[in-house]
């Protein structure tokens, strides 16, 4: 079957809206791309379009939060986290306003739209903000759980919503506790710490490694902030090597977060898979993932280099 995460996001908002009348949703002329339109169809009086004016949308959301609402703000990741960064910083994060960002079309998977629309730095930007929770769901089930969890958190939350249609990897029963990484597969030699769309690549990589006699574990970091330090340090003791994998710049994302935990505390061998400090470009997402090394094969290669 499979489902786009943005579709799952819209459905989750609709469901949340039915349960909680404090939830309002805002968009910047992309309701049919971010799929907030799904919420708007059912809760028309709680949907606000601000036109193509992201900075104003973010500040308006802060105004709603100050009035007791729980606003979910959506647009493309680049124009929310990027263009409106300083509004998120000063009007939301600085005052711990209860605003949620469900920003879609993150990473290279925007594909054909090209580098101008591919947000490869949003996690880095959001990680800088004290009090910001960062959730990166890997499948439709996790996307819904992320939306529901965000509504329960008192303070700003960033949810990174990818565009492609993906199969469910997790199940309804899989725990989703913000700040607590999930072990998807146990192993002995290399631990692959992945997030978002790279979870499926990590699982494939583990299979490929097993065929070559290398035992690989896979951890799902659905939360980048607060990062699960205990899990990282535990894995650093259990495994000979750690490889991180993310659809984001290697600067400032999951790989950086893991490296910051390991620095000074562990001598485990360590490597990052991610976008190597360069911009994206147009192309089919699968072609881009190959060219930029966001593949199971690259994870396998990096793992073998370390062992």
């Amino acid at each position: 079957m499979g489902k786009s995460l943005r579709v799952a996001y819209g459905e989750a908002l609709r469901e949340l809206g039915a349960k909680n009348d404090k939830v309002v949703v805002m968009d910047a002329d992309l309701a049919h791309a971010t799929m907030t339109a799904t919420f708007a169809e059912e809760h028309k009086d709680r949907f606000f379009n601000f036109g193509i004016a992201e900075a104003n949308m973010v500040c308006a959301a802060a105004g709603f939060a100050h009035t007791g609402y729980i606003p979910f703000v959506s647009t493309f990741a680049l124009f929310g986290a990027g263009r409106a960064f300083e509004q998120i910083r000063n009007s939301v994060s600085y005052v711990n306003a209860n605003v949620k960002f469900g920003l879609s079309h993150s990473g290279l998977c925007v594909g054909e739209d090209g580098g101008s629309h591919q947000s490869i730095e949003d996690i880095a930007l959001m990680r800088e903000l004290p009090g910001m929770t960062i959730l990166v769901p890997c499948d439709p089930i996790e996307t819904k759980k992320a939306v529901m969890a965000a509504a329960e958190i008192d303070g700003p939350v960033y949810i990174r919503v990818a565009r492609p249609i993906v199969e469910d990897i997790t199940t309804e029963e899989t725990p989703f506790i913000p700040g607590k990484a999930n072990v998807m597969k146990e192993g002995k030699d290399v631990c692959i710490m992945a997030t978002g769309l790279m979870i499926s690549e990590a699982l494939q990589a583990a299979e490929l490694l097993e065929k070559e006699g290398i035992s690989a574990g896979v951890i799902n970091f659905h939360t980048i902030k607060p990062i699960d330090e205990a899990c990282i340090l535990d894995m650093a003791k259990k495994y000979k090597a750690i490889v991180t994998a993310e659809e984001h710049s290697i600067i400032g994302g999951l790989g950086s977060a893991v490296a910051e935990v390991l620095a000074g505390k562990s001598n485990v061998k360590f490597e990052r898979v991610g976008i190597m400090d360069k911009f994206g470009k147009s192309g089919k997402p699968t072609d881009l993932f190959k060219e930029y090394g966001l593949t199971a094969e690259n994870i396998v290669q990096k793992s073998k280099e370390l062992l």
Binding site: A53, A55, C59, A60, G63, F64, H66, T67, V95, N96
Partner: protein, 270 residues
């Protein structure tokens, strides 16, 4: 409070501002002195606020979007009894609840954090829209600086305010004509700023920004179905001869001689 008392009150607020900035040796005197009557018209005459209950659900919200003028806001809040007046002399110090720019989490009576220009007016617009959605009848007032309206965000907020027909939203412009690098005209002309707000869908008024009665009249003028804009013509540094209409007094504190002269001109009430 009658007009005579309010005039004396304005002098006292100005003296408090000067003393605050002299005491901490930093801050923004020019734009603080220019918006005193604008704040007073709200806090002493028009706005529904309760110093004993700063978080009152249906209070009017007052957002000093030109957050650097907060010494004026703090002096008014202290005078209204939101916090003890002695706190003013601890402005900008490490243990003070009076930050260099307004902080809603620290200072009783501050409704919104401001300081990054353009954001306050946009948040205020969001609060007004939220009030409409809640069917609450309070108003939201945003005081903006004239340099501030060079920020694109102000116009994004203005467009949305008209789109959502926010007749509970009032933008008050402290139009003293000066900004850090010089006059608005020389730095980045605002053109006819009243015409611009009118074109954006606001009901517009232009008043003497040091005439409390005139500001009050414009604030009370009824509007329906559209937001209100009040252009308050003011003088930067108003009340202190050597600061008046001087861009150089945007962001510096007076020295001892300047402080004493300013206090003398302001009647030395403190």
């Amino acid at each position: 409070m009658d007009e005579m008392n309010l005039t004396a009150k304005a002098q006292q607020i100005r003296a408090d501002i000067i003393k605050m900035l002299y005491t901490c040796q930093s801050g923004h005197p020019g734009g603080s002195l220019s918006c005193v009557e604008m704040l007073m018209a709200l806090y002493y005459r028009v706005a529904k606020v309760d110093p004993q209950n700063p978080q009152m659900e249906d209070r009017d919200r007052i957002v000093l979007s030109k957050g650097h003028a907060c010494p004026a806001l703090y002096a008014v809040l202290a005078d209204k009894g939101y916090f003890p007046k002695e706190d003013l002399w601890n402005l900008r110090q490490i243990d003070s609840h009076l930050q260099g720019h307004p902080d809603m989490r620290k200072t009783p009576g501050v409704d919104v954090n401001t300081g990054s220009l353009g954001q306050g007016v946009s948040i205020a617009m969001g609060m007004a829209l939220a009030a409409k959605h809640k069917k609450a009848d309070y108003k939201v007032y945003a005081i903006v600086g004239d340099g501030e309206v060079q920020e694109g965000l102000v116009w994004e907020a203005a467009m949305a305010a008209a789109h959502y027909k926010l007749d509970n939203f009032v933008v008050m412009l402290d139009h003293n004509g000066l900004q850090i690098d010089g006059s608005n005209e020389s730095v980045m002309s605002l053109g006819d700023v009243v015409d611009k707000f009118r074109a954006f869908g606001f009901e517009c008024y232009k008043v003497d920004g040091h005439d409390l009665a005139a500001i009050e009249y414009a604030l009370r003028a009824p509007v329906s179905g559209k937001p209100k804009f009040i252009c308050c013509e003011t003088h930067k540094g108003h009340g202190v001869s050597f600061m008046s209409d001087q861009a150089g007094w945007h962001g510096k504190a007076p020295n001892k001689e300047e402080y004493e002269l300013a206090m003398k001109q302001l009647g030395g009430i403190n």
